[in-house]
Every structure is written in structure tokens, then in C-alpha cells.
């Protein structure tokens, strides 16, 4: 193994540990934030007893969940029942590893052992141990701030993201309880439906970029505009299907506390239940980061070009900006959850198949035509002009789509459903 390869592996391991730890701690804090936000929106104060302003509440919850009894229903399929939380947990955390959290960091280290040697007192011993174990480890060049900077980034998200439903469906089935089974079935149907809409919403972004890696998607947005402007309708579709993919209100049919007790995790207790919870919040983080990366420029700081040249401070600053943007969408998730009521199941399916999918398909074709026309017929070379043209198309399109959706003609209410047969006969 060359020293450079060893360096890459070492740095990747460090990034992996950092991202994994931050994700898990962040998810724990997100549960607190969810409770706080919900409380504030209902004139309450939220948890504020454990630690300053309740900041230790997640730790208390964690201890409680570990100490609680692990229940196992007598008729449950034991193996799958235990396996299911893990299957939901793994893809949720895997996705966090391919999102670029900051601009690339320039690294130039000839020997990591010598770097360790500078540590006060124990440095000499560390250097000797490091050299004995690994030999020379070096790294030169730009270090991507994603754990794994995959060239197939977006495809990986679509592929791994949809395996998360496997855990949920298995949890519902193996519990051998009617509520859990209904929750699992709903989850599978919902995920499958919205997977299509989500993929279709991503296609215009890929067409505009010409690549599927996150790095080039962000670069394309730095050179032109953030994709939320030229591809607003895709952004809207992506956001809506993101809500559905993470099982968040208004699409939390698989859980649906008031209908299905707790849906697929009715029979789970203690840490197994907690793992579903962590998976849900980790998925929220992923979808938020995806919305930011695909449509809001990723770690790009708006209006300045300073962040496009690699540097240590640039990495820190862009990391902060990425955090703020992701944080806003996480808050948005909670904000929506505590505002909107749940969809009815047929409305959910109608929205997925009758609204989002046709719109997504038509939109992909339209954007393809516009891009073809601007590039080949009008021969527009400037990225900004192309984006402005697309923005114009989007304003018109969004206006039409929202006007039609807004009349309540596509997602029917109870009254209309009851009246449908008579009206059709009269007509």
C-alpha cells in the first residue's frame, strides 16, 4: 500500500467517525428540538427540567431507552423482528456519508506520524507506535468533505434511500399485529409511489448539470443560479416527496398515531423503538441536506466567490453555511408537522400518482425541450441567460399548476366523491 492510499483511508476513517458521531448527537438534539418547537407553537415551554433549557433531555431519554425492557410479542417472527430496526437504521445513516458537508479541504501532510509527534508529552511515544503500526502515511491534495465522494452520488441516494422501507415493511410484518402490518403496508406503498415522484424531480437537476455527482451539482449552481430558481417546480415536487419519503406529517400514514396506534413500531419498545426514531430523524437530516445540495447550492455561500477557492477557512465557513441551510429545512419539517393535518390515504395516493408523477414527467420533457432550444436553436452560451429563461418558464408553469391544484379538483374532498356518480350520469 502506498503512503498516499494509507492517508486516504486514514482520513476517510476520521471523516466517517466525525460524521457518524455528529449525526447521532444531532439526531438526539433534533428530538429535543422537535419537542421544543411543538411546545412553542402550542404556547407551551417544552422540556426544560433536565440540564440548562432541557439540553440534557436527549441523554435522559437515551438512558431510559437503554434501561427499558425489550418486549418481544409471543407470535412475532423473532429473527426479522430483531433485524428490522437495523435494516431501517443502516440506510438512514449510510446516506449521511455521501453528502458534501463543506468545501474541499486542501491537505498536505508528508507523514501523519510526525504530526502526531508534536503532541505534548506523549507525542514521542505516539509517533513511535504509529510508525511501527502503519509506516509512512501521507496525503496531498484536496480532501472532499463528504465521507465518500462518490461519482454516482445522486443515484446512490435513490438506490440506498429506498431500501430504508424494507426495515419498516419487515417491522410491520414480523410484529404479527394488525396495526403494525397496516403501517408496514402503507409505508411500502407510500415509499414506492413517492420514490417515482422524487426521482422525476431530480432528473431536471441532473439534466441541467450533466452529471450525477454532488460535487458537479454544486459547481453548476455556483456558476449559474441556485437551482431553486430555474427549477422551482422540481424543487416543490422534491420537497413534497421528501416529506412522504421520511414519513413525516402531513404524510405520516405509516405511523398515524390516531388510526394505527403507532403503525409499524407499535410492538417495539426500548432501544429497538429508539432505532426507528433515530432512522426517521437521520432521514430528515438527509432529505434536508439533499434539498440544500440539489436546489440551494449546497455549501455555497451566496453572492461571493471567495468560498470557491479551497482553503481551511473556506471549509469552516462553508460548513457553517451548510449547517444553517440544513437546519432551516429541519425546522421547516417540524414547522409543517405542527401545522398541517394528515392526508387521507386515498388523497395521499392520488397526490403521488395523479399529481406529482404526471407533473414530474411533463416537467422533465418541458425542461429538456427548453434546454435543447436555448443551447442548440438560440445558441445561448451564458449560463445566467439560460437560467433566467428557465425561471421564466417556471414562474408561468408554477402559476398554472398551483391554480389548478388550488381549486381542489385533483385531490377530491368527501363531498365530491359522494356526488361523483350522479354528476357523471347527468353529464
Amino acid at each position: 500500500m502506498s503512503p498516499e492510499l494509507k492517508g486516504l483511508i486514514l482520513l476517510s476513517l476520521i471523516k466517517l467517525i466525525v460524521v457518524f458521531t455528529i449525526t447521532l448527537i444531532g439526531v438526539a438534539l433534533l428530538t429535543l428540538m422537535e419537542r421544543k418547537v411543538s411546545a412553542w407553537m402550542q404556547y407551551r415551554r417544552g422540556p426544560n427540567r433536565v440540564g440548562f433549557a432541557g439540553l440534557l433531555q436527549p441523554a435522559a431519554d437515551g438512558v431510559k431507552n437503554i434501561l427499558k425492557e425489550e418486549t418481544l410479542p409471543g407470535t412475532a417472527n423473532r429473527g426479522l423482528f430483531v433485524l428490522a430496526p437495523t435494516l431501517a437504521f443502516i440506510p438512514a445513516l449510510t446516506l449521511g456519508s455521501i453528502i458534501p458537508w463543506a468545501s474541499p479541504l486542501p491537505v498536505s501532510v508528508d507523514d501523519f506520524g510526525d504530526a502526531l509527534g508534536r503532541i505534548w508529552l506523549i507525542g514521542g511515544a505516539l509517533r513511535a507506535a504509529f510508525h511501527a503500526l502503519f509506516g509512512q502515511v501521507s496525503y496531498h491534495g484536496l480532501l472532499s468533505m463528504a465521507v465518500a465522494d462518490l461519482p454516482i452520488g445522486m443515484l446512490f441516494v435513490l438506490a440506498v434511500g429506498s431500501t430504508g422501507v424494507y426495515g419498516i415493511a419487515l417491522a410491520g410484518w414480523s410484529s404479527n399485529s394488525k396495526y403494525s402490518l397496516l403501517g408496514g403496508l402503507r409505508a411500502s406503498a407510500q415509499m414506492v409511489s413517492y420514490e417515482v415522484a422524487m426521482a422525476l424531480a431530480v432528473v431536471p437537476v441532473l439534466m441541467l448539470t450533466g452529471d450525477v455527482s454532488f460535487g458537479s451539482i454544486i459547481k453548476a449552481q455556483q456558476n449559474g443560479w441556485w437551482f431553486i430558481f430555474p427549477l422551482f417546480l422540481a424543487f416543490h415536487n422534491f420537497l413534497v416527496s421528501g416529506f412522504a419519503e421520511t414519513n413525516r406529517l402531513p404524510f405520516d400514514l405509516p405511523e398515524a398515531e390516531s388510526e394505527l396506534i403507532a403503525g409499524y413500531h407499535t410492538e417495539y419498545s426500548a432501544m429497538k423503538f429508539s432505532m426507528f426514531f433515530i432512522a426517521e430523524y437521520a432521514n430528515m437530516v438527509t432529505v434536508s441536506a439533499m434539498v440544500v445540495t440539489l436546489f440551494l447550492g449546497g455549501w455555497d455561500i451566496p453572492f461571493i466567490h471567495w468560498d470557491e477557492t479551497p482553503g481551511v477557512w473556506q471549509t469552516v465557513a462553508t460548513g457553517g453555511v451548510m449547517f444553517l441551510k440544513t437546519f432551516f429545512w429541519l425546522f421547516f419539517f417540524m414547522w409543517v408537522r405542527w401545522t398541517l393535518p394528515r392526508f387521507r390515504y386515498d388523497q395521499l395516493m392520488a397526490l403521488g400518482w395523479k399529481v406529482l408523477m404526471p407533473i414530474g414527467l411533463a416537467y422533465v420533457m418541458l425542461i429538456a425541450i427548453v434546454i435543447y432550444l436555448t443551447e442548440n436553436v438560440f445558441a445561448v452560451s451564458s449560463g445566467v441567460v439560460k437560467m433566467a429563461l428557465l425561471l421564466l418558464v417556471n414562474v408561468v408553469l408554477s402559476w398554472i399548476v398551483f391554480m389548478v391544484l388550488d381549486r381542489g379538483l385533483l385531490i377530491t374532498g368527501t363531498r365530491q366523491r359522494a356526488a361523483l356518480p350522479t354528476t357523471s350520469r347527468a353529464a
Binding site: Y43, R44, W335, V336, W338, L340, D406, R415
Partner: protein, 173 residues
């Protein structure tokens, strides 16, 4: 509909989903920034004078009992036996006694606060205005035995007594 569910007519033509959603989001965001109403109980308690976040108990509140005493510190009770008689929960235990000058007094007077339904009949029926229900609610204890209040403990209570409901002053003004 086959089973005769009454379906309310919805004004679908005049309703805007988008506008309604945005309006709802605006409301929840605004509410999030407004002052909170939760009372922080052990720190903030009901006070006679309403302060910030505090609230007051009604003067008619029927809570922990209290036995009033006369100037010499003796209980006003004459052990007439009306309160155990009227008590619907049968929670008052009274053993009457008589001193040398022929004055009746309670040898044993116990109220089981667990059995009590806090109806306030004992206070209403008492001819000597001795037993009262009080404007007080914090009576948690560590053992069940501690919930049986004897005469000494009833006399030692200091909280204000209930005014009960006055039929001639229905609104309590």
C-alpha cells in the same frame, strides 16, 4: 352514501388550499414567538395576588380540612356528631367526650383525606363553625397513614378556609 352519513357541503370552489396552508404556517410561526402560558408549578404557585404567570384559587375552593380554634386554643368542636352523620364518604371519625363542667368535646376527631370527596357538607352542617374545608391543595404524603388527619393536625392548619357557595350570592360577588 349507503349508510346515511351526513356529508357537510364544503365550499370547494371558494377555498384555496395554498392560501390556507400558508396562513396556517404563518399562524404557527407567530404563535411560536409569543409568550408562553405554562405555569412552572413548583416554582410558581397560586398566589392570592395574581402576579406574572401566577393564578389564584377561588375563595370557594374546597381543599384540605381545617379545624378552627377559640381564643384559648381549644377546638371549637362540641362533638355534636352532625358532620359524621352528613358525610357522604363516611370519612369522619368522631368519639365524643365530656369534661367536668359538662362541656362536650371530641375525644377523637379524625378525617381520612383519601376517602373525603371534598363536598363541603361538614362545613355547611357545623353549628359551631368549627370544621372547614380550606383553600389549599398540596397535601401529598409518603404513606397512606399520613392521610388520616387527627384533631391536632386539623387545628394546626393555617390556610384560609373556604367560603363555599352562597345561594343568595350566586356569582360570588
Amino acid at each position: 352514501m349507503a349508510i346515511g352519513v351526513k356529508v357537510l357541503k364544503r365550499p370547494t370552489r371558494n377555498v384555496s388550499y395554498v392560501r390556507a396552508t400558508l396562513k396556517g404556517m404563518a399562524i404557527t410561526f407567530r404563535k411560536m414567538l409569543e409568550p408562553k402560558v405554562t405555569m412552572q408549578y413548583p416554582e410558581e404557585k397560586s398566589a392570592p395576588e395574581p402576579e406574572r404567570g401566577a393564578w389564584t384559587l377561588s375563595p370557594r375552593w374546597r381543599g384540605t380540612h381545617r379545624m378552627l380554634t377559640d381564643e384559648q386554643g381549644r377546638s371549637k368542636c362540641v362533638a355534636c356528631g352532625l358532620c359524621p352523620q352528613i358525610c357522604p364518604a363516611n370519612c369522619i371519625k368522631l368519639v365524643p367526650g365530656e369534661d367536668e363542667s359538662g362541656n362536650r368535646y371530641p375525644l377523637i376527631y379524625e378525617i381520612d383525606e383519601f376517602r373525603c370527596v371534598f363536598c363541603g357538607y361538614c362545613q355547611e352542617v357545623c353549628p359551631e363553625e368549627a370544621i372547614h374545608v380550606g383553600v389549599h391543595y398540596e397535601n401529598a404524603e409518603y404513606s397512606r397513614e399520613r392521610f388520616v388527619y387527627d384533631l391536632e393536625r386539623l387545628s394546626a392548619q393555617t390556610h384560609p378556609v373556604s367560603t363555599l357557595w352562597d345561594p343568595t350570592d350566586r356569582k360570588g360577588e
